[in-house]
């Protein structure tokens, strides 16, 4: 599907320059959707990385209530950001996919408001927030990148609010599945009609504000309707237009950063 060796992602925008070796980096692929990065930009970014962390499945990455102060760029693997309530219930706030940033927004607040746990084995590139801010002051472009990422994060949250608040369980689930597919597409990790789905039904129910049995029934409904199929932690969209129609799903992409010519 992807023939041009240097093309990072399939949109009709000017392909950004992405030096070899960065091509497979989902975070960079994501950035190229809304900003042009030069070789030296990438070098500067790379220089910040303190270490590349392999993380084991089920490992706690951030603990609710503790300061964090790091940024973790997900090179590979999946995680969830969640909150445990007094009554033992859990609400999953967001799913963290390759190319996402752990510590956004947590590191910008006086205490992490949620916990993060790895859903699969992961590899993380970690840098200190201070160091990133430092870079931002030399290269404002990166501060804008961070703003754009935070705005995307907020937009995803907003859609979840709408889902949980006013959509039916079926619409909610359909919307969620399309969201994951869309976000994985943005980092070139999805096919046209399928993508990974390494989350358990319990996780999905905790994200969508449903009980596990009801999520199960809802999923069965989508399968019975011929809208999706699931096999081996992969979801297949067998009727994408119908599903998008059902969920009223409209993908939201960032605009390009309007960088002034002189910069």
């Amino acid at each position: 599907m992807n023939e041009l060796p240097l093309r990072i992602i399939d949109r009709n925008r000017p392909a950004a320059v992405a030096p070899k070796g960065w091509r497979e980096e989902p975070f960079i692929a994501r950035l190229c959707n809304f900003v042009d990065l030069t070789r030296s930009d990438l070098d500067a970014l790379f220089a910040l990385i303190e270490c590349e962390h392999p993380i084991k499945k089920r490992r706690e990455l951030v603990l609710d209530g503790y300061p964090f102060g790091k940024l973790g760029f997900i090179k590979d693997g999946f995680a969830v950001r969640y909150k445990l309530l007094r009554n033992g219930k859990r609400q999953i706030v967001s799913f963290l996919l390759p190319g996402d940033v752990i510590g956004l927004p947590g590191s910008f607040l006086d205490r992490a408001a949620h916990s993060v746990i790895a859903v699969t084995d992961m590899t993380l590139r970690v840098c200190a927030l201070d160091a990133f801010v430092n870079l931002c002051c030399r290269e404002p472009k990166f501060a804008l990148v961070l703003t754009w990422l935070a705005a995307q994060e907020a937009a995803v949250y907003a859609e979840r609010i709408i889902s949980i608040g006013r959509r039916t369980p079926t619409e909610r689930l359909a919307h969620f599945l399309l969201e994951i597919h869309s976000r994985l597409s943005a980092v070139d990790r999805a096919d046209d009609a399928s993508c990974e789905l390494p989350f358990t039904q319990e996780m999905m129910s905790d994200a969508l504000g449903l009980s596990v049995p009801h999520l199960n029934r809802t999923l069965r409904q989508l399968r019975a309707g011929g809208l999706v199929a699931i096999d081996d932690h992969r979801i297949f969209f067998t009727a994408m237009p119908a599903l998008a129609q059902l969920a009223q799903f409209q993908p939201v992409n960032p605009v390009r950063i309007p960088m002034p010519a002189f910069a």
Copy 2:
């Protein structure tokens, strides 16, 4: 309650420099919570403002689906960001208070995902997104400010997700009321135990994923429990600790931007 003429907000942090005339500006008060602004910073910011808009109650400010490309700093008044669904239901994504930014995150996406409507008469300071980005490139501090604001926005959204997804209606409402109070406090627009609450019950129910009758009953419950009192679009917290306990409310404040010494 506020005796020091130059004190912008009541936290034990070094009081930021806030030149006269800006003292009453809620947006500036908000920024001073996490960044120091010099006189020239403020001048630069002020220079961007295209115009100061008076907005009438009920006026639509952003239309779902259209690009926006502006930033609107709320000098005064309240608004809601919402989405209308196919089935006629409405979900309110967030309440916009004095000091908030209209167009965050909307202006960073290829199309505004939600609509915004004024709840009260408002006055807005408007600037073009391009112009702001331009400033960010000269003064990276402002790009970081924008990031911090977006992160706060995301944090507020996250809490709403948790509320709607897994909290009981009573907890939900309690949490919401405390959120509004906390945010108004951050711009010096709230007393210790009361604040404005210009939203109708319909709005609150649309924000919290409840029906109007049920929200009404829930509110009555809080009142009956002696936790709050409402009069003339103002809410009084008659038992703040008990309410915070009920809602498991933990205010989240931004950390200060770790600006390097040289900047």
